[in-house]
Amino acid sequence: MTLDRREILRLAGVGCAALAAGVRPADAELAPSPASADSWAVLMDTVACIGCRKCEWACNVENRLSDAPASTFDNLKVVDAPRRPEHDSFTVVNRFRSPADRDHSWTVKLQCMHCADPACASACLVGALAKDQTGPVTYDAWKCIGCRYCMVACPFQIPAYEYNKPVQPQVRKCTFCAPRLAEGRSPACVAICPNEALTFGRRQVVLDAAHTRIQASPGRYFPHVYGESEAGGTSWLYLAPVEFAYTGLPALDDEPIPHHTERIQHAIFKSFVPPLALYGVLGLVMHALRGDNGHQENTSG
């Protein structure tokens, strides 16, 4: 079969057009959140929280994080300087003060938000991080290669790394006490909270409870449930007395973070059509231009 050069170049042109058509935003193909409608959630009420750090202690014991004695957690001064979750502390409580009235303060418990559509899980190249349909974002250390792309991706900057370990370092973060959930128990921090600042339940139920609280005492709460829609929604939800700029929680829009990359990624790799089309186009060009510039060397079509 012989095609003349013009014909081949025309085919190549058609191929390029197909390529351009193929590489288009592919919104429809973005996977929905793996979390089921009745997945677990926790509401953190920063107004009810008294900053007692019992949750930090319970978390430490439950996850065997450090051998710090229980008395360490009696020091309530530390909540005044903002802390971040670390590889050996999955949750921390920080105090924030009203800029107008320094005596008016509230305490915010931080831990992994367990996003409905987690950026860390989308980033992870080996699927070590994954969203369980019951709510937790789980980590399988055995799969992990330690690239720390999850830490780059997390919009809440939660995953911490065991940089100090030369071998078997892990990405460490709140597990939502997944093993306890599987046994039908609530997370350790929720179970110990003395002031019902933490409410555990099915996400929709918890969300309804949050809105009921806002309606019942409008002066007490800023009228927004943080996590209801931020970054596509999270399993941990927050109520605050002021706007959330004063809680240390990041301002995020409603788009799930993974959509930013997956839209591009899935457009380029849609059924491998664009890469194969590029291969075909280059093959045709190679064939058509053969012998164009003087001697043919070791190229075969």
Binding site: G127, Y163, Q265, L278, G283
Partner: protein, 421 residues
């Protein structure tokens, strides 16, 4: 080309004052690499939970991959678009890409917390198709294999029919020889399939490397955060391909006292201003489109770095290479190609480090001496291996420096190759 010289192993002593310096740097880097492996990332690096990625990702991996782009751009030019006269530069570019990617992987292993799990993405049970990094990893793995396959004909050409392994290994002479013959025959017929695959794989992962940071919309500075990052990464990789070949070729001819292939280099330098202009146009259009122009002159570290990147690394070499006189002089070619390389490497450093703003910064990041020495050591080792390979295999095609005429370039006492990467 009247005088056509086929590629031959370069005849030059391996040791020189330059190589001694490189060996010292390579040893220092190797010691630091070992230190990181034994004592861990906390001991060797300044990385922390705020700064999960440092120069090993920004320079060794991201810049390394970009600067190895000469391999696929020259292959596309000479083998796919059949500009046959440029065949002389395909082999050096291929070798650079092959070594470049090899050292990208070695650098990456230092950064990975569980480097011994680096093979995990090959297991279908762990495939994660939503991950940009998965795509980059798989493409780089396949492309690295393709590069080694593309290099096989050069090995066959050198040793086919004269395999002479040392000592007791000589019993394998026949086996190795017949294997080389098989490679030669098979690749002689099917090399095109691999060449095209190499170009496709390069386009895929060069662009996806840009997609990586798109997952951090709240952390990456708006001067660089754009969904167009993959397009910009691909365009800049294509633009830096030929300058990298020019840069290396000039350094190699100085170091090996060969006549620079000035005509060829001026030839490929013609494409560079066009490619840079296209890259610059998309970059500016993207800034305007996203209303991010106002950040260019905000006076922050980011804005200064952006201006250096674009002004010195894109606009300046583009203007220089528009001049025919500059294109036809070794000095002009060398200056312009160095600037393009600087610009693209700085772009990768900007995207992965300078633009990265942790949400809760406790301190800023500056690489530790160990991180810097590992990076410098890897680059030095790469140059040494390159030198050894071109002395063993027929890679470089150039005439020995003729005594008279030509803008004679005298070899400096110490080779300035240190910067090759």
């Amino acid at each position: 080309m009247a005088e056509h010289h086929g590629p031959k192993p370069v005849k030059t002593p391996f040791m020189s004052r330059g190589t001694l310096v490189l060996i010292a740097l390579a040893l220092a880097g190797g010691a630091c690499y070992l230190y990181r492996m034994v004592f861990g990332l906390a001991a060797a690096t300044n990385l922390d939970n705020q700064w999960p990625w440092g120069i090993w990702i920004a320079i060794d991996v991201a810049s390394g991959v970009a600067l190895a782009a000469g391999g696929f751009t020259t292959a596309a030019l000479a083998d796919i678009f059949h500009k046959e006269k440029y065949h002389a530069i395909v082999r050096p570019a291929l070798l650079t890409a092959m070594l470049g990617y090899t050292f990208v992987v070695i650098g990456l292993l230092a950064d990975l917390g569980r480097y011994y799990n680096v093979w995990h993405p090959m297991l279908p049970s762990m495939w994660q198709g939503n991950s940009v990094l998965f795509e980059v990893g798989i493409c780089v793995m396949i492309y690295l294999s393709v590069l080694y396959i593309e290099f096989l004909p050069i090995v066959a050409e050198r040793f086919m029919g004269r395999v002479n392994l040392p000592g007791p290994l000589r019993i394998f002479n026949r086996v190795v020889d017949s294997w080389l013959i098989v490679c030669h025959r098979f690749l002689g017929r099917f090399i095109s399939l691999f060449i095209i695959a190499g170009v496709v794989l390069s386009c895929l992962h060069q662009s996806s490397l840009g997609t990586l940071m798109v997952i951090a919309p709240t952390k990456v500075h708006p001067l660089w955060y754009t969904p167009a990052l993959p397009a910009l990464f691909l365009m800049s990789a294509i633009a830096v391909g030929f300058p990298m070949v020019i840069f290396e070729s000039i350094l190699a001819s100085r170091s090996f006292k060969l006549r620079p292939e000035r005509e060829l280099l001026s030839g490929i330098a013609m494409y560079t201003p066009v490619l840079l202009a296209a890259y610059l146009a998309v970059k500016i259009a993207d800034l305007v489109e996203r209303d991010a122009v106002r950040y260019v002159f905000e006076g922050s570290l980011q804005s200064v770095m952006f201006l250096i990147e674009v002004g010195l690394g894109v606009v300046a070499p583009m203007v220089i290479l528009l001049s025919k006189r500059a294109r036809n002089s070794i000095a002009g070619l060398f200056t312009a190609s160095s600037l393009v390389i600087f610009g693209v490497a700085l772009n990768r450093i900007n995207v992965f480090l300078i633009s990265y703003r942790p949400l809760y910064p406790e301190k800023s990041y500056f690489p530790s001496p160990f991180e810097i020495l590992v990076t410098v050591g890897l680059i030095s080792t790469l140059v040494l291996v390159y030198r050894a390979i071109v002395m063993i295999f027929p890679v470089i095609a150039a005439a020995p420096e003729a005594a008279p005429r030509e803008v004679v370039v005298t070899a400096p006492a110490s080779e300035p190759e240190g910067a090759t990467r």
